[in-house]
Amino acid sequence: MNVPILSIRGLTKTYKGGTRALDNVDLDIRPGEIFALLGPNGAGKTTLIGAVCGMVRPTGGSITAFGQDLSRDWRSARARIGLVPQELATDMFETVWRAISYSRGLFGQPSNPARLEEILRSLSLWDKKDAQIRSLSGGMKRRVLIAKALAHEPELLFLDEPTAGVDVELRKDMWQQIAALKKRGVTIILTTHYIEEAEEMADRVGIIRGGRILMVDEKAAMMDRLGTTEAVIALAAPLSAIPPELAGFPIEIAKGAMQIIYRGGNGQGGGRAQVAQLTQAMTRAQIAYTSLDIHDSSLEDIFVGLLGEKEAA
């Protein structure tokens, strides 16, 4: 494995009043990956980002970015980190151009109008460069925040709920832009409520709840390990018991003996293949069926199931 671009060990944050927002968090982020941090509201996602980016003072633990201890070498490390916040927080009276020029300068980078133009064009904001930010639509304001975060050409970019409140079309547009950033070698950590977003873009997924990381894995491996396929087979005639020909399949009889429900597989196509074998076995056993409905579990199903399990435990 590559040396992590960001390494978090034992990170803890307890707010005044005793709320423990982060509880002994360990996390490694690999260079060049898109890492999605999923969790319900109040899980600690924004606090985790805040601790890395300097808005939150950790109570304990250590953060290393680019091999540098963030508490000691914060200047050089922070110069290489960008942040797109969740809130639409920007100086509404500034023009787009002045706002991103300020961001670049603030992070200690020399003026580079050509680079800023490139960033604005890539975000379809070039035509709006002289517009006051307050005159832009919500989606454009969010893109301005992305442009500001990219202005100093960070190697590690945090996107805190980047598509919150953004319409479907613009969300897909942003996914493309995030993918383009990854192509340029930027490591991206994003938090999101839209699990579809993580499913679409992330290389790895971390699930956080109550300030604790419950699981970190490759998205494909997580789907493989925790994903399932559910098939509902409507029968032409009631079936009182599972015949011996179908005994090896993970099935049950439901809905007044008029349905066979299959639950199994691995979320990576294995379940569908087994459902095909099941239907062949049913044909051989002369069990007629009228319809077949197959559903692979999504990352969302896994996420909800995992959180439900932890809650029950």
Partner: protein, 255 residues
């Protein structure tokens, strides 16, 4: 790591841009107010007043009026400059940037102090239309104005971090600085007050500032210039110390 001049300049330029964007409020408004003081107290009433310490009354009140505007405006500008990002949430960018206390102060406080100096120059220029005056020690006056502007810009910065509402932001300049400046010898010499009020007036630190500036203008003062300078430098050092502690602890800045 060394002082990051680009970061400091970015903050400074943005703050100056904000001032020019709101030129009426930040420059024209205080100039108009001060001009009214010159008209009423300097020209109309001043013509009937005896000279104070050998200085014609109209000219006598210039340093005090200048101090009145300088203290109010630099404090307000600096406090507003840091309070607004806290209020709107844009402070995230400053906190996540590779920027320390030195760059932040150079940017925010430097801009507030610059605005104060521009204002002072405009007010002094305006005063020439209403009263005749000459500055006896111009270098000392310029230094003293810069010192006071920087000190109160730092004070305003602390105020902007302390305040958690717009009301609190306005309380100190309106309810403390302005009355203290009025009572600090802006329109009269403290030495002319009857006992024990002349001694009581010296409990007001602004009296030392007005006196110091008046000395640099006309060579007359209620307290020795060394005391005024020492007090102002001490106040400057105290503000820097407080801000350093604020940045180290993250008080009201970082959660």
């Amino acid at each position: 790591m060394a002082f990051n001049i680009r970061s400091a300049y970015a903050i400074y330029r943005r703050e100056m841009g904000r001032a020019f964007r709101t030129a009426f409020q930040s420059i024209l408004s205080p100039v108009l107010t001060t001009s009214l003081y010159f008209v009423v107290f300097g020209t109309v009433i001043g013509a009937r007043m005896e000279p104070v310490g050998g200085v014609p009354y109209g000219a006598f009140i210039i340093p005090g009026l200048l101090m009145l505007t300088l203290l109010g405006e630099t404090t307000s500008n600096a406090s507003f400059g840091i309070y607004m990002p806290r209020f709107t949430g844009t402070i995230y960018e400053l906190l996540s940037a590779p920027v320390g206390v030195a760059e932040t102060l150079a940017g925010f406080v430097g801009a507030a102090a610059t605005k104060g100096l521009i204002l002072a120059a405009i007010i002094l220029g305006t005063a020439t239309f209403f009263v005749d005056y000459e500055i006896k020690y111009p270098v000392l006056a310029a230094f003293y104005i810069m010192l006071v502007a920087s000190s109160f810009a730092l004070f305003g910065f602390i105020l902007g971090i302390w305040a958690d509402s717009f009301e609190k932001l306005g309380i100190i300049p309106l309810l403390i600085l302005t009355p203290l400046t009025f009572l600090g010898g802006t329109f009269y010499s403290i030495r002319d007050l009857p006992a024990p009020w002349d001694a009581v007036a010296l409990a007001n630190p602004i009296a030392f500032l007005v006196s110091g500036l008046r000395f640099s203008f006309y060579g007359v003062a209620d307290v020795p210039i060394g005391v005024s300078l020492g007090l102002t430098l001490g106040f400057l050092a105290l503000c820097i110390l407080v801000i350093t502690v604020i940045f180290r602890t993250g008080w009201r800045l970082r959660e």
